[in-house]
Symmetry: C2
Subunit: 358 residues, 2 copies
């Protein structure tokens, strides 16, 4: 045995041990995330950027997030399928987009006449909501987490004032999803139109009204220039976006990185609610200043009451069609009832008090 070879062997052996220790300590993961939104979409897209930055900093680069916006993957409503199949490791979207595939996914975004953001987070984290969501997504090899809240969405822009149920009959309105079905029950003709064509459709009376999100996102589409009546909300009181994660990918992550992911998603979701409040307040101040034509309106009570009944009827039908839906609807109804009784004597009472003093 020559000195040289002994030495080399020893150094190599140690170096190999070091190499794998370091590899273990520094094992890195690149997670590809597909978001439903286009590039630089405000608030929604800021949420994935914030998530990415937080995860990368906290993990010291052991996780890298690569975000693909809709312009890249070309399938804004294909996020569920792409993450399920492993084409992407994770996604950022909204649960109610998947109701055509899995009807029970409808309930994890926001429901007409449902919980507000704080109540709904409390339902997710303390009232059994996360467990129900897990049950719905588990068969699809997916984990779903709250992905950011818009707060109460506005009821939409109307070119004419709505004074009675009669004024709704035959009204053509862009309003998608379950809320559209509720509106249909009271005579509205709900349609869905691509965002890029909404302004023109409203201007040319192809539609009479349009529901979008709230001041910050609505302002960009310019509805305030051509519609005078901005109605308060009832149909999406706490729209929660969604982080989707492929379950097999999740299970490959060590426990510390799973916790970093979990907390970064949770924190960026909460942050979106706060950013929404800020951006909507700014945008609403601008609308008030620059568009004095815009008037805030609330539907008369007879309309709310009719829609409330229609909503109950549709929920009853959904519960009859699916045991799982029935379980979720009951959980949400019970939680809302208990939680709102407290919200009424705290938050609502306080806001009403403040509206009285000058």
């Amino acid at each position: 045995m020559k000195i040289r070879s002994v030495l080399s062997a020893a150094v190599l052996a140690v170096a190999t041990a070091v190499g794998s220790a370091q590899a273990l300590a520094q094992e890195t993961f690149t997670l590809r995330l597909a978001e439903t939104w286009g590039p630089n979409f405000p608030i929604f897209g800021d949420t994935t950027k914030r998530f990415k930055e937080t995860v990368e900093k906290m993990s010291d680069g052991r996780i890298r997030i690569r975000i693909d916006s809709a312009n890249k993957h070309k399938a804004p409503l294909g996020v569920f399928d792409m993450v399920k199949a492993g084409q992407y490791d994770m996604g950022h979207s909204a649960s109610y987009y998947w109701k055509g595939k899995v009807p029970e996914t409808l309930f994890f975004t926001s429901m007409p006449f449902g919980m507000n953001a704080i109540e709904q987070y409390a339902w997710f984290y303390y009232g059994g909501g996360m467990e129900l969501m897990e049950e719905v997504y588990e068969p699809h090899n997916l984990l779903s987490f709250p992905g950011g809240n818009t707060g109460v969405q506005m009821g939409g822009w109307f070119r004419k004032e709505i004074k009675s149920l009669d004024d709704l009959k035959g009204l053509k309105m862009r309003i998608p999803g379950f809320a559209g079905e509720v509106f249909a029950e009271v005579g509205v003709n709900p349609t869905n139109i691509a965002p890029g064509e909404l302004y023109t459709a409203l201007e040319r009376n192809t539609i009479d009204a349009v529901e979008w999100v709230g001041p910050a996102l609505d302002l960009r589409l310019g509805f305030q220039q051509i519609a005078d009546y901005y109605y308060t909300g009832w149909h999406e009181p706490a729209t929660e976006l969604q982080f989707l994660v492929n379950k097999k990918v999740w299970e490959k992550l060590p426990a510390d990185l799973q916790e970093i992911m979990r907390v970064a998603m949770r924190s960026s979701a909460y942050d979106m609610l706060i950013q929404s409040q800020h951006a909507n307040a700014e945008a609403w101040a601008n609308i008030k200043k620059d568009y004095p034509n815009v008037k805030i309106k609330k539907f008369p009570k007879e309309i709310f009451q009719a829609m409330y009944e229609a909503n109950k009827k549709l929920l009853k039908e959904a519960a009859e069609n699916s045991e799982m839906a029935a379980k979720i609807i009951e959980s949400q109804r019970n939680y809302l009832q208990k939680s709102r009784a407290y919200t009424d004597i705290s938050e609502r009472a306080y806001l009403n008090t403040m509206a009285e003093v000058e």
Copy 2:
């Protein structure tokens, strides 16, 4: 040179390199945290436990948090001084406790007739609040972060109904701080009494009324057994607790651990708001069921209006005494005005709509 010694030297050299790489990768920090609360204090104490668990998991044990409750350090209101002096690395308390030492710390917890929790988080993170807080704490070698929100606190338990300003004259009430000063301006005799003696003081008419927090924490003290009138809140609409960190300790942490700390504090603070909602809703349901004597009351408008004026007067005085206070008061007033205009057309309008339908 003998084979053995050459070998040993080589192995040692490599081993040393490995050793320091591992030491660097695994450098651990134990941070001692003093909290103002007693051991196992609900909600507030759950927040520090949640923070500790999150930090330890995310850092894979590179940070350990050692929580000392008030029974251990014996100085619930000494947290500011102990963290400033480095006796503790961090603390969990509330900013307004330090107004005797640094008057401007008053403004970072909650102000009468001020912002609600979502508005106040938006002010902290998007409206300049964090920067103002940094300016106030920096000279004391301290960093302050939001530490968990109670939501709107209840206005307190009264043994007699309050129907007019006259009913407040000479009323003895446990209500501390700035809200106590506001009450004093309208004739109330505010006192502070240790929590353990509050029930007896109220029962024996040593005091006529008591303000504590909200259903979840009030229920434990038993006021519902001896007072029938539970008033809605106005004085602390969004009480935010506080994480305090010694700045020199913070600066010793590498960037990834700083980010882990920052996000764990932020997320546990938000979580406390959600836990408060849940726990208060549960407790309020129990009070309603077991104590049908309890009636929810709102002060008449003349009382709110008088307190609102008194509050404005006290803020004006505070602004005259300190330029920094003036800057904070102006920032909060402007932010509240803009933010509430939007809250009124979104959250408040929605909650009022829901209260109308059946």
